[in-house]
Each structure stands twice: as structure tokens, then as C-alpha cells.
């Protein structure tokens, strides 16, 4: 029953083709039906295959379906083949389930948009590319999906391309991603040269068999991780993600929160043998993740744009996933990916619902007291915030705790401390968001207030479903303290994850760590409550006390400006210089010179071309006679 899994990506692909060709002529209702239906069918097939996978014994992982040989050149062979194993199953389920809900939500959110069919075409194309990415059985095909989601991301960030900032944000995302992709590509070529194949199973065997030197493994691992930092918005390539919020909110939810940005985590988990073999690479991943988690958290503190806060929060949460992968707890990292997909897309969609209610207002300073106007959005938003803050019994708590416990158990105390710090920041800025938006006094502009309304059911129902999952999703991966075998998720993924050295904590330590996480989360919430509801003057005092720090955070550490000065402008200047001196004089000169030289010789030789048949015949015959003579003598 599992052998139909290769149909999962093909259904959205078919739908994309139909929409791309006929989309403009089809009625909106049909477009919505087809786009959502395609993703839903994918989801059903994923679920079916997943149930089938449970019956397969772990020795048979991964199940590979080779459709055809795509490239065959010398020793190099790339197949168009899909594989299905626990990691793929989790990713495919997350992508299709969350994707389906967001597609449904988009029906309401995009209802008035002129480019309705273009939007759904791209969303379907994105789903297809993402599924190719997670289901590919070799690096080359994975790279196809990787570039495919990058392309869709670019197209959807710049969806409202009439807006200058949106078009620029799209370009920025694309270019920054390319830098990461270069790393990925080089890593892939190294693998190709030294392993001779890009199939994951061959790579795993080669690395496990020790046919690659330790330094080479580290090098490849770091290069691949460069690709991951680009796609998953980690230091130093995170700058595109906040700008990516220019796109429609469902896009931010699907691509820039739930699925695409986690592709880097997926890739690291897929190539886990490298990070397990090379501890250096693992540590790099963990430290980059931890630093990003805190760094992005601090930037989220001062943002006033509701979606930007969520964007920085996404960067920070992906940092946690990388901590998990870096310390060898791949299952925990993927677990966080999976819970994060639910609550972060919930938060984004709820934020979209708020925007929808307020005629597109994004600035939290112009919100406040929305609780009574948005009876459905508020509780779902609150659930999402609680889940991400790491309050016990919701999904975010279990996954974050799993990661931090693993980091502590592996002796990465520095990473652990950063993680705890990040957790405080997370709960603080999330509840700052809640309090500024839904509580306190109303700061809504009177013009906007007239049109304020709750979103239609097609938007609120997906919110409710996501909220439900945000609560319960964590219960498949309960902490070890509750019993030896309660962490079903860990056991499910275990056969394909390569464990480093195992480290066990005493039960007491584990309880202590959980207690610390709980305290930390609640502290954050309390500080937010104190700052923004109890004594709203405190933040202002702080800003006046530490103007430098505030400006630094508010301007996102001036990283965008620094990149501008360090990379963008020199590139522009250098390009202009090269254009002026080299291009015009040398390249154009050479091209024009070649043309005029050819013209000159053509003129000279054209004297031979008399246009008289007899001359040609004579020369022709002369040639024949000479050839014949050469043959004879």
C-alpha cells in the first residue's frame, strides 16, 4: 500500500500545469476548489503512505521509487527517483497538512485579489517543489526542489510587484539565497567527486564506511550548512526573511514560517551522517543556531510591525531546530520543525486575520484592545503564542524542551544557556505582541475602526484547526522522564538517524531542566505583562535610559546597512567600473573588431565570388581533377 507514495508530488504538479495554462479563464470558485483539492489529495496519499510505512520494518528504509534516469553522463547518474522513510513522511505530512489549511485560508484572504489564479498556481507549484525537495532520493533532485521553492518564494514575495518594496524584497531573498545555494552546490560537487554518487543511501554508506577523510566530511558538512543558512535564514544570511514579509500573509505562513525556511533543517537532518561523523561541523551548526536564536529574539523585541516580529521569531525558532541537529538530536530538531509548522503558521494566519480586520494595518502601535472585536482570532492567536512561548502541555513546550535537554546532555552548556535566554526572549516578545494587539487601550485609527470585522469562516476554521494541532501535536514526543517509551516520535525517526555518543541524564536533572524551561517561559510572559499592561511607562523609560541599545535593536544591529556598505555598494561600484573600462573598451572592442575584421576579409574574398556559373563550375572541376590526381598518384 505504500508504493503509491510517488504520486504525492505529482498531484500538485498536475494542478499547477492546469492552473498555469487555463487559470486566467477559470472561475475563482473552481480555482480554489482545484488548488485546495490537489493539496488535500496529496495529504491523503501522504497519510496513506505513512500508515503503510508503519507496517514496513525499519530495515527496509528508505523505500525508493525510481521513475526514470534523468541525467546519465559517464560515471555520473542522476535519477528522477523519490524515496519514502520516516523523515520524508513527517515532512510530507507537515507540508501537505499545513499547506492545505493555508490554501483554504487563502481563499478568504485573497478573495479580492486581481491575480487570484496566479497566486494559487504559485502556491501549488510551491507545494510540488517542496514535496520534491523532501521526497527526492538524491542530492541532485533535492537541489531541483530546493531551487524550485526558492523560485516560488521569489515570485510570491514579489507577488504584489507593483509595490517597489515587494519587488526589491523578492530580489533580496533570491540573491541572498543564491549565496547559500553556492555553498550547497559546491558541497554537492565534493560529494559527487569523492563519493561518485548523489543517492542518499550511497552517501550514507560511503561516509559510514569511512571512505572519506575526516577533514573532507567536515568541509562538505560546512558547505551544505552554508546552503542551509541561506534557505533557513540563519546568521549570516538571515537578512532576507524579515523583508520577505512583503508577500501576502498566507505566503509568509506557508513558505516563510512553516515549510520552505525549514528546508535547511530537513537537509541537515537528511545528511545527518556528516554532522554525526564530524563533531566540529555539528558544533558549528549548534552554535550558529543558538546565536541566531538569541540574536533574532533581541531584534524581535523592538519591532512594531506585527509580521516582522513573527519573522524574527521564525528565525529564532529555526535556530532552535539547528541546535537540535547540531547536538545530534536530529529527531528533536525535526520534532520542533513539526510543532513549529503548526503554531507559527497559526500565528501568521491569525496576524493575517488581524490585518484583514484592520484594512491591512500592520503597525502594533495602531492596534490595541482588539480582543472584543475578534472573538475567534484572539483565542487562536493566544494559543499559538502560548505554544511558542513554551508553556507546559502545549506542543512548543515539548519540542523546545527536547532540544534544550539534548544540548545539556551533550555537554553543550554554552548553547544551552543561549537557548534558555532565547526562550525568555521568545515568551517576552510574543506576549508583548499579544498585549499590544489585543489588550490595553484602543489606538485604532477612527477611519479603520468603522470597517473592523471578524474574518469569514473560511479563514477562521483553518485557524481553529491549526490551534487544535498546536495544542496536541506535542503529545507524540513526550519527554523521557515520563517513561522509557513515551517518545514515539524519537523512536519513529531513530532508524534513519545516526546517533553520536549517547549521554544520559539523571531523572532529577531532567526534571530540573524542565522546571527551568517552565520558569523561563513564565518569566517572559510576566515581564511582558508588567511592561505593557501594568506599567506601560516602563518601556519608554528604558528607551530613554538606553537609547543606544534601543536604536541598535530597532535598526536590527544595522546589519542591512553594513551589508549594503560591505557587499552591495562595492559590487555596484566594481560592476560600473568594469562596465566602463573593461566591457566597453575590451569586450565590445574585441567583438566589434572581430566583426569588422570578418567584414574586411569577406570583402577581399568576395572578389572570387563572381556570380557566373561557369567560374564556379571551372573551380569545382579543378578541385575534382586535383583530388582525382591525388588519389591516383
Amino acid at each position: 500500500m505504500i508504493d503509491i507514495f510517488w504520486l504525492i508530488p505529482l498531484v500538485p504538479a498536475l494542478s499547477t500545469l492546469i492552473l498555469a495554462v487555463f487559470g486566467e479563464k477559470l472561475p475563482k470558485k473552481y480555482i480554489s476548489f482545484q488548488a485546495c483539492g490537489a493539496v488535500f489529495i496529496s495529504f491523503l496519499i501522504s497519510l496513506y503512505s505513512f500508515l503503510g510505512l508503519l507496517k514496513v520494518s525499519p530495515e527496509e528504509y528508505p523505500i525508493v521509487k525510481n521513475l526514470f534516469t534523468w541525467i546519465h553522463s559517464g560515471n555520473f547518474q542522476a535519477n528522477l527517483s523519490f524515496q519514502f522513510d520516516p523523515l520524508t513522511a513527517v515532512m510530507a505530512l507537515v507540508v501537505t497538512a499545513v499547506g492545505f489549511l493555508i490554501h483554504v485560508y487563502s481563499i478568504g484572504y485573497m478573495a479580492e485579489d486581481r491575480s487570484y489564479s496566479r497566486f494559487f498556481t504559485l502556491m501549488n507549484l510551491f507545494t510540488f517543489s517542496m514535496l520534491v525537495l523532501v521526497m527526492a532520493s538524491n542530492l541532485v533532485l533535492m537541489f531541483v526542489g530546493w531551487e524550485g521553492v526558492g523560485f516560488c518564494s521569489y515570485m510570491l514575495i514579489g507577488f504584489w510587484f507593483e509595490k517597489h518594496s515587494a519587488a526589491n524584497a523578492g530580489k533580496k531573498a533570491f540573491i541572498v539565497n543564491r549565496i547559500g545555494d553556492a555553498g550547497f552546490l559546491i558541497g554537492m560537487l565534493f560529494i559527487l567527486v569523492y563519493v561518485g554518487s548523489t543517492e542518499f543511501s550511497n552517501i550514507n554508506n560511503a561516509v559510514a564506511g569511512g571512505s572519506l577523510s575526516h577533514g573532507l566530511v567536515t568541509l562538505i558538512a560546512i558547505l551544505l550548512f552554508v546552503g542551509a543558512t541561506g534557505k533557513s535564514a540563519q546568521i549570516p544570511l538571515y537578512v532576507w526573511l524579515p523583508d520577505a514579509m512583503e508577500g501576502p500573509t498566507p505566503v509568509s505562513a506557508l513558505i516563510h514560517a512553516a515549510t520552505m525556511v525549514t528546508a535547511g533543517v530537513y537537509m541537515v537532518a537528511r545528511m545527518n551522517i556528516f554532522y554525526t561523523t564530524s563533531e566540529t561541523a555539528g558544533s558549528v551548526v549548534a552554535i550558529i543556531g543558538a546565536v541566531t536564536a538569541v540574536y533574532a529574539g533581541t531584534m524581535a523585541l523592538t519591532q512594531n510591525d506585527i509580521k516582522r516580529v513573527l519573522a524574527y521569531s521564525t528565525i529564532s525558532q529555526i535556530g532552535y531546530m539547528f541546535i537540535g541537529c547540531g547536538v545530534g538530536a536530529y529527531a528533536a530538531g525535526i520534532f520542533h520543525l513539526y510543532t513549529h509548522a503548526f503554531f507559527k503558521s497559526l500565528l501568521f494566519l491569525a496576524a493575517g486575520s488581524v490585518m484583514h480586520a484592520l484594512s491591512g494595518e500592520l503597525d502594533m502601535r495602531k492596534m490595541g484592545g482588539l480582543k472584543k472585536y475578534l472573538p475567534y482570532t484572539y483565542p487562536t492567536f493566544l494559543i499559538g503564542a502560548i505554544a511558542i512561548a513554551g508553556v507546559p502541555f502545549l506542543s512548543g513546550f515539548f519540542s523546545k524542551d527536547a532540544i534544550l535537554t539534548s544540548a545539556f546532555a551533550q555537554g553543550q552548556y554554552f548553547v544551552w544557556i543561549l537557548g534558555i535566554l532565547g526562550a525568555v526572549l521568545t515568551s517576552f516578545y510574543m506576549f508583548r505582541l499579544i498585549f499590544l494587539t489585543f489588550h490595553g487601550k484602543e489606538r485604532i485609527e477612527p477611519e479603520v475602526k468603522k470597517h473592523i470585522h471578524e474574518s469569514p469562516p473560511v479563514m477562521t476554521v483553518p485557524l481553529a484547526v491549526l490551534a487544535f494541532f498546536s495544542v496536541i501535536a506535542g503529545y507524540i514526543g513526550l519527554p523521557v522522564v515520563l517513561g522509557k517509551n513515551v517518545n514515539w516520535f524519537d523512536r519513529f525517526l531513530a532508524p534513519i538517524m545516526h546517533k553520536g555518543h549517547e549521554a544520559h541524564l539523571t531523572i532529577g536533572t531532567e526534571w530540573l531542566l524542565i522546571l527551568i524551561s517552565v520558569i523561563v517561559a513564565l518569566t517572559g510572559i510576566f515581564i511582558a505583562y508588567f511592561f505593557y499592561l501594568k506599567k506601560p511607562s516602563v518601556p519608554h523609560t528604558l528607551v530613554r535610559r538606553f537609547p543606544f541599545l534601543y536604536r541598535l535593536l530597532y535598526n536590527k544591529y544595522y546589519i542591512d546597512e553594513a551589508y549594503d556598505y560591505l557587499f552591495v555598494r562595492p559590487t555596484l561600484k566594481g560592476s560600473e567600473f568594469v562596465y566602463d573600462k573593461f566591457d566597453i573598451n575590451i569586450i565590445d572592442g574585441a567583438v566589434n573588431g572581430a566583426a569588422s575584421g570578418t567584414g574586411f576579409f569577406g570583402k577581399v574574398l568576395s572578389f572570387l565570388q563572381t556570380g557566373f556559373i561557369k567560374d564556379y563550375a571551372l573551380v569545382f572541376l579543378l578541385g575534382a581533377v586535383i583530388l582525382l590526381g591525388l588519389l591516383i598518384f
Partner: protein
């Protein structure tokens, strides 16, 4: 029996006569006739070889050559007629649009 090489030498002579004729004649029609002579020279050679090898294939080839020559003559003469209509002349020298 007549020795084969008599025929072959006749074929060579005919061929060269056709070639030289093509080069020195100045109107399209006679040049075209010279081409036909060259084809015939080939035919003579084929027939001679067919007999010397006791194989009918040579004769079959000649049969096909004659068929093709008929088709070629029809099209070629049509083209000559067109040229004449355009240039009001069948001198090869008058058709020199290809001059570089």
C-alpha cells in the same frame, strides 16, 4: 566479343566532352544538354560493368538513372523557362545575382 575497356574509354571520352562542353557553351539550354551527355557517359560505364560482372544490377541502375534524368529534365527546363521570362535571355552570364 568487344573488349570491355573499349566501352569504358568511350565513357570517359563522352564524360570529358560533356564537361568541357558545359564550360565553353554560353547558353543554359546547351549546357543542360551537356549535363545529359555526362549522365549518358555514366550509363555507358554502368552497362559495361554490368556485362563484365554478369550482374543485372548495373542495368537496373541505368534504368533508374534514365527515370531520374526525365524528372530532372522536366524541372530543369521549367527553371530555364522561368529564367528566360525574368531576364529575357538564356545566357548564363546574364544571371549573376550571386555576385559578391
Amino acid at each position: 566479343m568487344i573488349p570491355i575497356y573499349y566501352f569504358l574509354i568511350l565513357s570517359a571520352v563522352l564524360f570529358v566532352m560533356g564537361t568541357v562542353g558545359f564550360l565553353i557553351k554560353k547558353d543554359l539550354i546547351t549546357q543542360f544538354m551537356c549535363v545529359e551527355v555526362m549522365l549518358n557517359a555514366a550509363n555507358v560505364a554502368f552497362i559495361a560493368f554490368a556485362r563484365s560482372a554478369s550482374s543485372l544490377n548495373g542495368q537496373i541502375i541505368v534504368f533508374f538513372i534514365i527515370t531520374v534524368a526525365a524528372a530532372e529534365a522536366a524541372v530543369g527546363l521549367a527553371i530555364i523557362l522561368l529564367v528566360y521570362r525574368q531576364k529575357k535571355s538564356i545566357k548564363t552570364e546574364d544571371s549573376s545575382l550571386m555576385k559578391g
